[in-house]
């Protein structure tokens, strides 16, 4: 193998599994250390820079970081990254003074944002400090979009949404709430220099089975719309028998909300087994903990209507299988079951809808009904129109919307500064030795044996009484510290200098997880098998040094490195050093510019 090029910013970035997996590349270990140190404001601001909504995401994120966490590969459970993020948000004091300064003198460029969800708000956050003027449009009375309308308050209290949306609106964004944009053409005619579409995937998927027309909107409702109506207090009760169709997070939110609004028999009806559900495992857990049955292999067949009212729903029992090519197979058993229901909530997916974008403007749409959008720049086929969030590439999650918002903001800035949109600014990186004295490090290198901490919940009886009482109480400072100590500090990198190495074997001998080997060089597949413990996890890279004195190379399998620093501590020549790698994705305005004020 060729020696590893650690100058490539992506090499060490990939070693920090959590940060690499985060769509917004939040520097996770850095903020976890700050939480352990009780520096909650600093931890919050690092989050805020990357993901804009630490308090919201600390409760609702899909957590792509956690399955990626290296800790999950050396023991059962990853670090509770998401819950630690919430700690930073909950325990911080006032951070208003730390928010970016907004130039009083604007740069003369005006951008319209459609939809006040996470993607649009991220664009506003990135562009306001650069001097842009921003108009924000939303059809509902308050900012937040999906976060406010579809996530129930018992998971995400309103005050958190108000606070974090507030930081952005307070930058001087001109908001137009209760204002549905009906025509893109009209908007473009208003002399905006750029338009960003962040309208999400607002329409729930319908399920037109027999008798659907008779009860659509009454006995049968779309889950996302029903949740939004609850959020805006248009609905405050639920009938006794409620069925929720679907197995995603929206289904979990629907059934738990219905329970809190007075329903007595709430059931979740799946077409699949529980093991094939799309909902996050922790959402399923919480749902089951509240005593809501989740029924498997029920294929909806017919709405039963009497006197114009829904009374029940018929299901066909099926057998579920997955074919060799991965497609799901549903085999009917011929057995039909009828289950009483006066309300059916459909949570079987969401669609994008752009009836308000005229087809003759130059914005091209694909077969899925989505605008043709460049997945790197988020520019549409009409150069001054950009998309982001669920509206761009289809429904995903909040953190993805934020990441796309950041990228779209860069594009809008490049575009309006007459630079190539394709020209993406490089990340900021920094590598700094953590050495203090001979054998000490400026990070806590000891590896905690603690197991993942459980988060305390509100007592069930009380939680079910109110749709606004938050169920998860969050870690207190002690639990947060213990959990933070579980982090392996993967951003503190093992940096090797081949010409300092005297091949004494000290590092190889001390490494608790046997990830170092000195061996004659070979091609990767052979090298992986030759290591002290063969490197079977092909997702994790090998580090290969320059040739050593004996012509061997130092090979490190990054897979289960504990970042404990013992290799560097036992190295007599400092050929190994522990160096903290700071990787910051570029933001709008971070590439060199002549002047912030244009014209």
């Amino acid at each position: 193998m060729k020696p590893t090029d650690t100058e490539n910013p992506e090499y060490f970035h990939r070693v920090v599994d959590c940060q690499h997996a985060c769509p917004a590349h939040t520097p996770v270990p850095e903020y976890i250390r700050l939480i352990a140190a009780g520096r909650y404001e600093d931890a919050y601001m690092i989050n805020w820079e990357s993901n804009v909504f630490p308090g919201i995401l600390g409760r609702t994120c899909d957590r792509p970081c956690e399955p990626a966490c290296r800790r999950g590969r050396i023991e059962d459970k990853p670090v509770a990254i998401c819950r630690l993020k919430r700690v930073a948000a909950d325990m911080k004091e006032n951070v208003q003074a730390r928010m970016p300064k907004i130039p009083k003198k604007k740069n003369g460029l005006k951008v319209a944002l459609i939809g006040a969800g996470p993607a649009s708000l991220t664009v506003a956050r990135d562009l306001m400090p650069l001097g842009y003027e921003i108009d924000l449009y939303d059809a509902t009375p308050k900012p937040g979009g999906y976060m406010r309308q579809q996530i129930p308050s018992f998971r995400l209290p309103e005050r958190v949404i108000d606070e974090e949306c507030g930081y952005i609106l307070d930058m001087g964004v001109t908001s137009y709430f209760n204002h549905r944009v009906e025509s893109m053409k009209a908007l473009l005619d208003q002399a905006y220099d750029a338009v960003f579409v962040g309208t999400g995937a607002p329409s729930g998927r319908r399920l037109p089975l027999p008798n659907y027309d008779a009860v659509e909107g009454t006995g049968v409702q779309l889950g996302v719309e029903w949740l939004a109506n609850v959020a805006f207090d248009h609905i405050d009760s639920a009938p006794e028998d409620v069925l929720v169709i679907g197995g995603g997070n929206t289904a979990m939110d629907c059934c738990r909300t219905a329970l809190r609004l007075g329903a007595k028999n709430v059931k979740v009806m799946l077409r699949t087994p529980i093991s094939a559900m799309l909902a996050s495992p922790w959402e399923i857990e919480d749902t089951q903990a509240e005593g809501i049955p989740i029924l498997e292999n029920y294929n909806p067949a017919e709405y039963v209507v009497e006197d114009g009212k829904l009374t029940a729903m018929k299901f066909e029992i099926i057998e579920y299988d997955v074919a060799e090519d991965g497609t799901e197979v549903f085999i009917p058993t011929g057995k039909i079951e009828t289950i009483d229901a006066s309300l059916v909530l459909l949570a079987i997916g969401q669609n994008n809808a752009f009836p308000w974008i005229e087809k003759d403007l130059g914005i091209e749409f694909n077969q899925r009904g989505l605008a043709e959008v460049n997945p790197d720049t988020f520019q549409s086929t009409l150069p001054q129109v950009f998309f982001g969030g669920d509206a761009a590439l289809g429904p995903k999650n909040i953190i993805t919307a934020v990441a796309q918002g950041h990228q779209a903001a860069i594009s809008i800035d490049q575009f309006l500064q007459n630079k190539s949109v394709e020209d993406r600014p490089a990340p900021h990186t920094n590598l700094m030795s953590q050495k203090m004295g001979i054998h000490d490090w400026s990070y806590s290198s000891a590896v905690s044996d603690e197991e993942r901490q459980k988060v305390p919940h509100a007592p069930l009886a009380e939680a079910l009484k109110s749709r606004k009482l938050e169920v998860e109480l969050g870690f207190d400072d002690k639990l947060a510290f213990e959990e933070a100590q579980r982090c392996l500090n993967c951003d503190v990198q093992t940096v090797f200098t081949a010409d300092k190495c005297i091949e004494c074997d000290a590092c190889v001998d001390i490494c608790p997880v046997d990830c170092l080997t000195m061996t004659p060089n070979d091609e990767e597949a052979v090298l992986r098998q030759k290591l002290t413990v063969p490197a079977e996890n092909l997702d994790e890279p090998l580090f290969v040094s320059e040739a050593l004195q004996t012509e061997r190379v130092m090979v490190k399998d990054e897979d289960v490195c504990l970042h404990c620093g013992l290799c560097a501590e036992r190295c007599p020549t400092s050929a190994w050093d522990m160096q903290k790698y700071n990787y910051k994705t570029a933001k709008a305005g971070s590439s060199p510019r002549e002047s912030v004020v244009n014209a």
């Binding site: 004494c504 074997d505 413990v533 620093g565 013992l566 007599p572």
Partner: protein, 350 residues
């Protein structure tokens, strides 16, 4: 400074025949200087014992005083240990071995502990052919007392802060050969590929197995003017052979030229495959070993590998015809067989 190692190990760590991983053969974290050759030797002992599936509780580690003699704390944490008085490890080993021949005895000593204060003890352990592995971690310097020259410092070798040594060194391998040691090897802490199989062979050997391991002292003696530095050894090391320890009668590996591999059958039925790199050498000849060492020495080369082996000798228990039962298992009945037995014995001398 870390005084503990994290408790996590690689999830795919291999297991030996006993179901143990190498973790089960580890000891406490070393307190020696970073980069000390002794730590590599500890790791080699761990590896050898792991690979041979030795039961940790059937091992006794013995040592004297010095940096080397601290190391038994850092390997085989589940074995027995005795850290004796300076230079007196051979006596303790002899006593322990006499009391219970069923354990594996691993003695670890240094150049000071063996070649200076303990010389009088060492030579008798060799000539008595006690069944043990004796490893001398030889760095040519008194590290624990701040780096004075030792009795094995080569003539003219100069440590970090010293003058060139004016004295002839004691060559422990040559001495052992002359005193009748039945297994003699020379190795280097920086070459585990060679050292681990040598330790395995020494463990399999019945009788006194002596391994001299050049083990650089990074703090006082790892300088360009020293003959016991990493660089010097890498440039001047020559091997008489490489050795594979083979627990059962496997095929001889074919990477070597025909006629260059010699198989030695050990008393327990295991094998050593010696791949000769020095065609002239007869592994069963003391004279050949001594001559070769002198020849290489004259060319400023350090000869390593298994220098001599006599797998047919009798160890001390056999020479003395002692009981096979460990002494602690002997009951009053065996120890005091009664007046009749005494009478019978006395009659033999009448």
């Amino acid at each position: 400074m870390s005084y503990t190692v994290p408790s996590f190990r690689h999830p795919n760590l291999p297991r030996n025949e006993l179901g143990y991983t190498s973790k089960d053969y580890e000891g406490a974290v070393s307190t020696l200087c970073a980069g000390c050759g002794h730590d590599s030797i500890s790791a080699a002992i761990i590896d050898a014992c792991f690979q041979m599936s030795i039961q940790p509780h059937r091992v006794a580690k013995l040592s004297g005083i010095g940096c080397s003699s601290k190391t038994p704390t850092y390997f085989l944490g589940n074995s027995h240990g005795f850290n004796s008085v300076h230079g007196r490890m051979p006596s303790v080993a002899t006593g322990a071995n006499m009391a219970n021949r069923n354990l594996l005895y691993i003695g670890v000593s240094g150049d000071g502990d063996t070649a200076s204060i303990g010389m009088g003890q060492f030579v008798h352990a060799v000539r008595r052919n006690i069944n043990m592995v004796y490893i001398c971690e030889n760095n040519g310097v008194y590290g624990l007392t701040k780096g004075q020259d030792s009795a094995t410092t080569d003539l003219g070798s100069k440590s970090k802060k010293g003058d060139p040594s004016p004295y002839e060194p004691i060559d422990l391998c040559a001495l052992s050969l002359q005193l009748g040691a039945t297994f003699v090897a020379n190795s280097f802490s920086g070459d585990k590929d060679q050292l681990v199989p040598i330790i395995q062979a020494a463990i399999a050997h019945k009788g006194f197995a002596f391994i001299n391991v050049i083990s650089p002292c990074v703090t006082f003696n790892n300088v360009s003017s020293s003959t016991k530095a990493y660089d010097y050894m890498r440039q001047h090391m020559a091997s008489t052979n490489t050795v594979d320890y083979v627990p059962t009668a496997d095929e001889i590996t074919t990477d070597y030229q025909e006629g260059t591999t010699e198989r030695v059958t050990m008393h327990d039925g295991s094998y050593l495959n010696l791949h000769k790199l020095e065609a002239q050498h007869d592994i069963h000849s003391r004279r050949s070993a001594l001559k070769l060492m002198k020849d290489y020495g004259a060319e400023d080369k350090v000869l390593t590998g298994v220098l001599f082996i006599d797998e047919t000798t009798q160890e001390l228990h056999e020479i003395m015809k002692t009981t096979k039962t460990p002494l602690r298992n002997l009951t009053e009945k065996e120890l005091c067989p009664g007046a009749d037995a005494l009478e019978k014995l006395n009659n033999q001398f009448r």
